[in-house]
């Protein structure tokens, strides 16, 4: 008898993988579709108005006990915090060792531990936004000023208006600077990390050797830079027109008296001859060799190196670079940096600039996060501007607080590398607030387009008039 073996039914590896893959893929797609197609609420974006305390009362779970001090007119509040782990502070990588020192002092004063998370500055926006969307815990963070309104509307920043010290903080600032840290409705949402003015930093040695006076206008700058270019200087005028072109454009426009946007965001510059003049000036500067030939692609180090090695005469940038050029930078021209007594523009105005600290929308403990924010962006528990003073002395990053600027010991310390009184005048008188930079939600979407058009203009692809027309149209598109 012949035995007939039944063929064992084997599942081949390929079939197994095929069917498992299809099953898992189906589950994933089905799950994703189900998530997407579920009925969702239409969320209206609202900005919390001052005085509406509902958000705060829901979120605060700590108890605040009032402990009367000996003085009958003051009450010291001693909050208790419900922290199970250190506060998480996210910062970009500017002097992280200094930040660690601040946090150590904060812990000494308050008993609250803080874990510092440092992200590289070039990718800060990308990293922090990815982390936020990924759901990691953040308590306080560095905020680039132009992103604050978007982040606030996205629920990523906690409003600060409801905290008892918020009014005092605002009143301590120069009045012109307050709008940098508030929503269009005046709600405080960030505190100052650093502030500065946009300045023209001039090499005094080159200025004196060539018999120049301080430039008083954009035309003076052009004339002086043109002469130096003809003498062989490679980059008489430098600025960060690669990644911060908008700041320069706004500075020039404000300086020439151009109103860019009204309070509703409507563009006002389209037919303004001064706006056209600014763009034509920029084009002339680039075309005729008054700027670095690679100004639209130069990195930070290239600009600083050019100035410190006398390849550049004027650097138009944030005022803290005065400290770099006069003290910490390496190069034969170190110590030769001066700024004009008055901004070289027809209105004698320049613009405010700076970045901020913010509290994340969902911190572990609101009061603890607020303690840290106050410490960093205002005063410590002893009532001193500890953090602001450290930054100012070490790096030239300055605060917008009036009483800080009145303190004679700061004048003594900073006068080693800057004309303190002149810089104070820039802060008090010459630095215009540019609220549209922080208050118009679509402003930086427009900036991306505007910068492309201006860069095309510089290389001769678009005329200045056409640039104005196009960017005005774009702004109207965003408005509609």
């Amino acid at each position: 008898m012949v035995e007939v073996k039944k063929e064992e039914k084997k599942v081949s590896r390929r079939d197994y993988l095929k069917y498992t893959g299809a099953a898992i893929g189906g589950l994933v797609v089905g799950g994703a579709l189900g998530y997407v197609l579920k009925p969702t609420e239409v969320i209206e974006k609202t900005v919390t108005a001052p005085g509406v305390a509902t958000t705060i009362t829901k979120m605060v779970t700590t108890t605040v006990t009032a402990v009367p001090t000996t003085s009958p007119t003051t009450i010291t509040l001693t909050p208790t915090y419900t922290l199970t782990k250190p506060l998480e502070l996210y910062a970009w990588d500017y002097h992280p060792e200094t930040i660690e020192e601040h946090l150590a002092a904060f812990k000494e004063q308050t008993g609250i531990s803080v874990k510092l998370n440092v992200l590289p500055y070039p990718g800060y926006l990308t990293s922090i936004q990815s982390k936020i969307m990924g759901g990691i815990q953040i308590d306080d963070l560095y905020v680039q000023n132009h992103t604050q309104l978007k982040w606030y509307n996205a629920g990523w920043l906690h409003e600060l208006e409801s905290f008892p010290e918020s009014k005092k903080i605002k009143s301590d600032m120069y009045k012109e600077w307050v709008t940098k840290y508030t929503t269009p409705d005046g709600i405080l949402i960030t505190l100052p990390y650093w502030t500065g003015s946009y300045v023209h930093m001039i090499n005094r040695r080159i200025m004196e050797e060539n018999g120049f006076e301080y430039p008083k206008s954009l035309e003076d700058i052009y004339t002086q830079c043109k002469k130096l270019s003809e003498k062989g200087m490679k980059a008489p005028y430098t600025a960060y027109w690669s990644w911060q072109l908008e700041e320069s454009v706004v500075e020039y426009m404000v300086g020439e008296g151009v109103d860019l946007f009204d309070e509703k965001g409507r563009p006002l510059f389209e037919d303004d001859p001064n706006a056209k003049y600014v763009l034509e000036w920029m084009y002339r500067m680039y075309k005729e060799g008054c700027t670095s030939p690679t100004i639209t692609t130069d990195e930070v180090s290239a600009i600083v190196t050019a100035w410190l090695n006398a390849e550049s005469y004027i650097c138009n940038w944030h005022s803290y670079f005065i400290e770099t050029f006069n003290r910490s930078g390496e190069g034969p021209e170190r110590g030769n940096c001066v700024i004009p007594p008055v901004p070289p523009s027809s209105t004698k105005k320049t613009i405010q600039i700076g970045d901020c600290y913010g509290m994340f929308g969902r911190p572990q403990d609101v009061m603890a996060a607020w303690e840290l924010l106050k410490f960093l962006g205002w005063k410590d528990r002893k009532g001193e501007y500890r953090v602001a003073t450290t930054w100012a002395y070490k790096t030239g990053l300055l605060p917008p607080y009036k009483d800080w600027w009145e303190d004679p010991k700061h004048k003594e310390a900073l006068s080693k590398w800057v004309d303190f009184d002149l810089l104070k005048t820039y802060f008090e008188k010459y630095s215009a607030a540019v609220p549209f930079r922080v208050n118009i939600l679509w402003y930086f979407d427009w900036v991306v387009y505007m910068e492309d058009q201006v860069k095309k203009m510089l290389v001769g692809e678009v005329s200045p008039s056409d640039v104005l027309k196009k960017i005005a149209e774009k702004a109207k598109e965003f408005l509609s």
Partner: protein
């Protein structure tokens, strides 16, 4: 029965890795691309092709797409050809070739962003190493602006070509070492020249590997962000404004995740079409 299941269990971890780190993110990308996203509540509403329409309507989209394809082509051609030449050189049996092979790896080990900074400073018009070298050798009288609006796309592809040629040379070298020596010996007896040996023996043997390297190089060039971000920031003008920079702007500067996702989908589809066309062309020729 146990004998059949054991290999399958060994594969499952890798399979899950592929599903969670490749398939799921890709599916999620498409979900975001077809949605309106409310960041505050993290809620999604179906948006149809709205996000794609917004991207396509952008006046910079088509020029950026063309530039991106060109950039990918420069990197794939440059990286593949130079990589092959380096592999042929590294395959020689000469003294010290081991050191040369070790140096071949270096560009591949350097992160792209560092490569970008390195070449930025080599090409710098005021202080660059290349200008300094040429000036010292008295080959130039004035420093040269190496990166201009006209050549920025090609110049900014050089760091990517440098990195990808290292990658290509490594994989081509391993393929070259798999070619049987007796075939070369036979061809030498028949009187074949070096060039004919390369054309009829070497290249046909390594062609599948080289073709794969070509596609990978194109892909790397097509999605390149770090080098462009560092070297040119999309400039001068908009001459190096690639899709990757547009994507960065949409997703991270404008905080429009959905349009960024739509742009990424478009990038993916364009790349798949181009790679498929290339493979069809390659294999049709073989037939």
């Amino acid at each position: 029965m146990l004998k059949n299941k054991y290999p399958i269990f060994m594969i499952i971890p890798s399979f899950l890795y592929i599903v969670f780190f490749f398939i799921f993110p890709m599916v999620w990308l498409f979900v975001m691309a077809f949605s309106f996203i409310d960041l505050k509540s993290w809620s999604f509403r179906f948006a149809g092709f709205n996000n794609f329409a917004m991207i396509i309507k952008d006046e910079e989209f088509v020029p950026s797409l063309i530039r991106t394809i060109l950039y990918g082509a420069y990197v794939s051609i440059g990286g593949s050809v130079i990589g092959l030449l380096l592999a042929l050189l590294a395959n020689q049996k000469i003294k010290g070739i081991g050191v040369f092979r070790a140096f071949l790896v270096i560009p591949w080990c350097i992160p792209p962003i560092i490569s970008g900074y390195l070449w930025l400073w080599i090409f710098d018009a005021n202080f660059g190493f290349l200008n300094r070298l040429l000036y010292t050798l008295q080959l130039i009288k004035r420093y040269i602006i190496f990166v201009t609006r006209e050549n920025a796309l090609i110049m900014s592809s050089i760091p990517a070509i440098w990195v990808q040629s290292s990658f290509t040379s490594l994989i081509c070298l391993s393929a070259l070492q798999g070619i049987p020596i007796d075939i070369y010996e036979a061809s030498e007896i028949d009187g074949a020249t070096s060039f004919k040996r390369f054309l009829y023996i070497t290249f046909p043997f390594i062609r599948p590997i080289w073709a794969l390297a070509f596609i990978i190089n194109f892909t790397i060039g097509f999605i390149m962000f770090d080098i462009i971000y560092v070297m040119t920031a999309g400039g001068p003008g908009t001459s190096t404004l690639l899709l990757s920079i547009l994507l960065y702007r949409e997703a991270f500067l404008k905080l429009r995740i959905e349009t960024g996702a739509a742009l990424a989908c478009i990038q993916l589809v364009v790349m798949l079409i181009l790679c498929t066309l290339y493979l069809l062309l390659l294999y049709r020729r073989r037939e």
